[in-house]
């Protein structure tokens, strides 16, 4: 990931290339700081503790999903079914809590997330359908199942202990989901950079045929990556259900777009092979800050569609320009 682009410029005769490299490499982190500082100066409400906590909370829903998605994109695939999967896991969770208790219900929903993620992986690798169209179809199926399971209703959850997972804070400062988000990123970073599996992910993402030739079990690696996305999505679904104290089939509509936009704006290449979890982490915070600002300045929720799409396309444009500059050098 980052090491490769760093090494490229070692011994370069032009020291300013390193500055350019630093800014492009930590682009989203720098942008996040600039935007956050500017907003704090401009708007007194923005810098209140409550609002900042709210931003961290909002960031953790897309952030947790984006952690798994980063690994999957590094392996050279996508999952567009996450919105449906999150709704389905949320509905199942909300339905199960009164019957079997909080912990078993959460465990069940995580297992279902893992299983359905693996199913996505199976459809993509074994039926050999391009990932984005296969998962688009799977999304329809998951949304439909969530609708059927919930009867089209909103399923309320009244357990106060469970609600704490979404609305509570640790040490009185950090929202619980944000703490979980940090742990998720540490875990995924560990997987990506410290394990053999992580190296395999990068290998098949940068050159699948070479990976296959070298004897890597490409399909199994990718199925596991899909399963990780499924688990992360179910985890995000758990906290979203807790925060809303309810679940319904379309509680996360548009989630796939936000999550992929977060990963891409964080600097992970859609071509696969390399990715940065630190970037995705900052990307999630960035989108939460932007959406928060849109709310504070009273711009309607509809603008969020426009802004998210614009950021996705411009981030890709910047990536494309950057890679063409690097190729010319």
């Amino acid at each position: 990931m980052n090491e490769t682009s760093g090494n490229r410029h070692k011994g370069s005769r032009f020291p300013d290339v390193n500055v350019l490299d630093f800014i492009t490499r930590y682009f989203i982190q720098s942008l996040l700081i600039v935007v956050a500082v500017a907003l704090s100066l401009l708007n007194p409400y923005f810098r209140t503790a409550t609002n900042l906590q709210n931003i961290l909370l909002q960031a953790s829903f897309s952030g947790i999903g984006a952690a798994g998605m980063t690994l999957l994109i590094v392996s050279g695939a996508f999952d567009l079914s996450v919105a449906g999967l999150l709704g389905l896991c949320g509905v199942i969770l909300a339905k199960l809590i009164p019957d079997i208790g909080i912990t078993p219900a959460i465990a069940t929903s995580l297992v279902i997330g893992f299983a359905l993620g693996s199913l996505n992986g199976l459809v993509v690798t074994k039926l050999r359908i391009p990932a984005f169209i296969a998962t688009l179809g799977m999304m329809n199926i998951y949304v439909a199942l969530a609708f059927i399971w919930s009867g089209g209703e909103v399923i309320p959850v009244s357990e106060v202990t469970f609600q704490f997972l979404g609305t509570g804070t640790l040490l009185g400062v950090l929202p619980v989901p944000f703490v979980i988000m940090i742990l998720t990123y540490l875990l995924c970073q560990g997987i990506l950079s410290r394990t053999l599996f992580g190296r395999y992910l990068r290998a098949i993402g940068s050159n699948e045929i070479a990976g296959r030739t070298a004897g890597l079990p490409v399909d199994i690696i990718r199925i596991i990556a899909f399963a990780i996305v499924g688990s992360c999505t179910a985890l995000a679904g758990t906290f979203l259900t807790a925060e809303l104290s309810s679940a319904n089939a379309i509680m996360a509509s548009g989630y796939e777009l936000t999550v992929i936009a977060v990963v891409v704006i964080g600097g992970t290449s859609l071509k696969g092979g390399k990715g940065t979890l630190f970037g995705s982490f900052a990307g999630a915070l960035f989108f939460a800050v932007i959406n928060n600002a849109l709310n504070i300045f009273g711009v309607g929720a509809y603008w969020q569609y426009v802004v998210t799409g614009l950021f996705l396309i411009s981030a890709l444009g910047v990536q494309a320009l950057r890679s063409s500059i690097l190729t010319v050098e």
Partner: protein, 337 residues
């Protein structure tokens, strides 16, 4: 791509060739056979299906999807996709409804088609000039255009009141054939001619079949790609106009999931995801098939959720068949070597 390869494979592997041939026949005839069988079954188990009104409604429903599906077939042939068609349909429906308040019917329709064309061209420019994969560009555009559609209407509905004649575009009949279906047949004829009898159509297939070879042989890949996406935008706009004349009241949430249906009918109709070819007639037949299923499920009072489930399963099924075909083509190519 495949015809030549299949011919070469014929001598070496008769068995695979037979399978490939079977699938080819399945593609062109299969959807038709399936459609006829389904209509017969539906008429028997769902009384009320075979009435003229219901059949006309089913055909109208199919026409609205088919118009976009025809454009999508082109996009798949060139080796891309357009996920923004649902949002474009919504926005163009709003454009036509808003323009009807101040302008004549033809002018409003032209305005909507131009909007679709511009959005499609924009997709094409970003895809080809920035070299970003089509599906992410159109995925982003799906969100942007949806946002614009919602912003333009402030989440409210727009009613078409002063042009009641606009509805005849939907419920009018010529020789008992619904007008939307006649429009689709005209679009089909035009696109068929373009795809099979013009240099532009040949270039489209060449790019989808082998991009590198197309570039090497001097085809202006960017220009063709931009034009194809412009065309997809226009077909989505045609669907938007049809939908607004059907509903006579439109809002920014229309058309969600249209991209999925359009891709499903293209693939089901026999257009391979590997690009390089398009089966336009199959697309229209598959649209009729999908509408027949939906109509039968409606009459049988199956909840909308299950219909949603069904589209997903059908898409995965169609794509699996496509995979089998791709594998066969690959194998016959390999065994020739």
């Amino acid at each position: 791509m495949s015809d030549h390869e299949k011919e070469l494979g014929r001598e070496a592997v008769p068995k695979l060739e037979a399978l490939a041939h079977f699938i080819q026949v399945f593609e062109s005839l299969g959807v038709l056979v399936l459609l006829v069988a389904l209509v017969v079954v539906a008429s028997i188990i769902a009384p009320g299906f075979s009435t003229y009104t219901n059949i006309a409604n089913t055909i109208i429903m199919a026409s609205i999807t088919a118009a976009t599906g025809l454009g999508m077939t082109f996009a798949i042939a060139v080796g891309g996709f357009d996920l923004s068609v649902g949002s474009v349909q919504a926005l163009t429906a709003i454009v036509v409804a808003s323009l009807l308040a101040v302008a004549s019917v033809p002018l409003a329709i032209v305005g909507a088609l131009l909007t679709g064309l511009l959005l499609g061209l924009f997709n094409g420019v970003i895809i080809s000039k920035l070299k970003i994969p089509a599906f992410v560009v159109t995925f982003g555009m799906m969100s942007i255009v949806r946002g614009v559609a919602l912003l333009a209407t402030q989440g409210q509905s727009v009613m078409i009141t002063n042009h009641p004649d606009f509805a005849t575009l939907n419920n009018g009949k010529i020789l008992a054939i619904p007008v939307p279906f006649i429009i689709v047949l005209m679009v089909l004829a035009a696109l068929y001619l373009i795809l099979h009898h013009t240099p532009f159509g040949r270039h489209t297939c060449a790019i989808g079949g082998n991009r590198a070879a197309a570039i090497a042989s001097g085809i202006n890949v960017d220009r063709v790609t931009i034009a194809v996406f412009g065309l997809v935008g226009v077909t989505a706009a045609i669907s938007g106009v049809m939908l607004s004349s059907q509903l006579m009241i439109v809002d920014g949430t229309l058309g969600t999931g249209l991209e999925l249906q359009a891709i499903a009918i293209s693939v089901l109709g026999g257009t391979s995801l590997s690009g390089g070819n398009g089966n336009l007639v199959g697309t229209v037949l598959a649209a009729l098939l999908l509408a027949t299923i939906a109509s039968a499920l409606n009459i049988l009072k199956v909840a909308a959720f299950y219909q949603y489930l069904f589209v997903g399963v059908l898409l995965i099924f169609a794509l699996s068949i496509d995979t089998v075909r791709r594998i066969i083509v690959e194998k016959s190519t390999l065994s020739r070597a």
